[in-house]
Amino acid sequence: MDGKAIFLLRRKRTIRVAIILLGVALTVILISLNTGTIRLSPTSVLKALIGYGTAEESMILYEYRLPRIIITMLAGAGLGIAGAVFQGVSRNTLADPGILGINAGAAFGLIAYISFFRSLDGPAALMIPLFTFAGGAVIALVIFLFAYDRYRGLLPIRLILVGIAVSAGVSAMTLLLSLRLDEDTYAFAARWLAGSVWSRDWVNVWGLFPWIVVLIPIIYYRSATLDLFTLGDETAASLGSAVTRSRLILLALAVALSCASVSMAGGIGFIGLAAPHIAKRLVGPQHRHFLPIAAMTGLVILVAADTIGRSLFHPNAVPAGVVVAAVGGPYFLYLLFTTK
């Protein structure tokens, strides 16, 4: 079988997997809409969506359920793609924005935002992703500098080690800063770090939406470069890729994507790890195939985790990040001990 045939076969498979995932995603979303203090059955959701629902149903759907679920979907997709890019760029299958400490940097940015604006509501919320991105970018730079060796390039394992340490330090600084504000902010910061989807207003959706719809296509457009990275730096360079430059660009894009996602959804780890792995298993290693699948997988995981955290432990809620960590953490260990 020649290369073109394999390519066509993979593409067919990708489309098939994408359709199945779409079905799964829709099911999860409908279940998620149906859970909560007031239940909305799929038919009433449909009715409310096309404008025939009762006033109460439409109010619940449009004011409470939809913003939150859209944020969860966008953040899940963003984290899935960001994780895939981190793994591709660093050639490290264990890279994940949570473990690398990017989330901790984003948390620092968020707390800086709160101390600046004193509130999380209102139109200023559109600026939140900017602050989290600034925090995440600084941390990414620090980690990159520490894990970079002048002669051997980016050292994959050291990257993780440095990330673990940096995230511990930055979390400490975040808590210090948040304690200076007041007890509520401290509790908010701690919950945020545990990964609870906190935002539920339309303004938050509008804060997150542009980042996702702009960044994901840009990254997708560069999927050929990501493919080259998996061959190793030297091969990539000899095939005409400006390695360091495109690596920095992609890294910045991924940092922006993950920081924007966690800014509204809380510091959720392990999705950026698990989603790309699952996607790669499903449709193979070519980025143009598995990036969309990774996005959909991330979306399904986060929506499911949020739904489980809200419904299984009713009337209290467990942060989605805790649910993801309980499943994703063991998966990380499994990967750590089976990959070389």
Binding site: L94, G98, I99, F146, L155, I157, R158, I160, L161, V162, I164, A165, V166, A168, G169, S171, A172, M173, L175, L176, L179, R180, Y186, A187, A190, R191, L193, A194, G195, S196, G269, F313, N316, A317, V318, P319, G321, V322, A325, A326, G329, P330, F332, L333, L336, F337
Partner: protein
């Protein structure tokens, strides 16, 4: 570590004896001063004389004496004794696993304890302190066994870097679950405890149980120091020198688990103490673990008393998480170590 050089520095350490004794005295003096200072200063500043008389001839009528006796002293002693425990546990782990980055916090052992303590707070809120401590031990032991098993089941064994990462991830999972429990059961007023620990709640009844256990485990660790030193040269060298490697490793880890479990049960998980302090001690006294453990015990106390003092003074009257205080010093140190560890990467 360079085997032969390490061996020499362990066996021919006679000339260093005097220096070591001087160091030990200096450290003890430093500890004494730190304790005094930490008891004296706080929301209400007291003079050294008041503190001295409060300790020596306690008079229940005087407010200053009451502050010292009921609030400051248990807390400062708690910081000292848990600092000692974390530092000694770290020294033991670094010795028996031959991993310069081993620390009960980083390897997830503290997180195991915290998780079990969180479960207890949620489901059995009226448990006695001794039972809580026993459960904390169980948590520490389970995590240790889990990580050791992971290491030994992996084909080709587990190098120190991978072990560190595995530990950090186990810690992340357990910490996440602990936070989940805290939030779910609305224990979030103690959120600082789940996040970074603290010694504000230490009482005399805690200390009565803690001090003997930690002191005995520390002395036990010192007695094992010679075997641990040999073990730190490698299993083969240790066997040649008449040390049963797996036995020493098992006993050493047991001591570390006891130390970590005991201190977590009262102060929560405080990382990085067990990482930094043994390194400083090793730099000061060489590769002999008898000395490293002794000096680590004292330096660990000093570090944590200082950290607790800073946590109280940063933003009074609010308290800051002590673990976060230590992390600010510990993280740069860890980065420095990670950068130095070139061979493994």
């Amino acid at each position: 570590m360079d085997g032969e050089k390490g061996f020499k520095s362990i066996v021919m350490s006679g000339s260093r004896h005097i220096i070591f004794i001087l160091l030990l005295f200096a450290a003890l003096l430093g500890l004494g001063l730190t304790l005094f200072m930490s008891v004296s200063y706080g929301a209400k500043d007291l003079t050294m004389g008041t503190v001295w008389s409060a300790v020596m001839h306690y008079d229940a009528e005087l407010t200053a004496h009451q502050i010292v006796h009921e609030i400051r002293l248990p807390r400062v002693l708690g910081a000292a004794i848990t600092g000692m425990a974390f530092a000694v546990a770290g020294a033991i782990m670094q010795g028996v696993t031959r991993n310069p980055m081993a620390d009960t916090g980083i390897l997830g052992i503290n997180a195991g304890s915290t998780f079990m303590v969180a479960l207890c707070f949620a489901f059995l809120p009226n448990l006695s302190y001794s039972a809580l401590m026993a459960i904390s031990f169980a948590g520490a032991a389970m995590t240790t066994v889990f990580i050791v098993l992971l290491g030994s089941l992996t084909p080709g064994g587990l190098n120190s870097i991978r072990l560190t990462i595995a530990g950090a991830v186990v810690a992340a999972i357990l910490q996440s679950l602990s936070t989940g429990i805290a939030i779910y059961f609305a224990l979030s007023q103690d959120l600082a405890f789940w996040y970074a620990g603290g010694v504000a709640g230490v009482t005399w009844s805690h200390l009565k149980l803690l001090v003997p256990i930690i002191l005995i485990a520390t002395i036990w660790a010192c007695m094992m120091g010679r075997s641990i030193s040999f073990l730190s040269l490698g299993d083969e060298s240790a066997t040649n020198l008449g040390v049963r490697a797996s036995r020493v490793r098992f006993l050493g880890m047991t001591a570390a688990v006891v130390l970590a479990g005991a201190s977590v049960s009262v102060a929560g998980s405080i990382g990085f103490v067990g990482l930094i302090v043994p390194h400083i001690a090793r730099r000061l006294v060489g590769a002999d673990y008898r000395k490293i453990i002794m000096l680590s015990a004292i330096l660990g106390s000093i570090l944590l008393v200082w950290a607790d003092f800073a946590a109280r003074m940063v933003n009074p009257p609010r308290e800051f998480a002590i673990g976060a205080m230590v992390a600010m010093v510990g993280v740069p140190f860890f980065l420095y170590l990670a950068r130095k560890e070139r061979s493994d990467l």
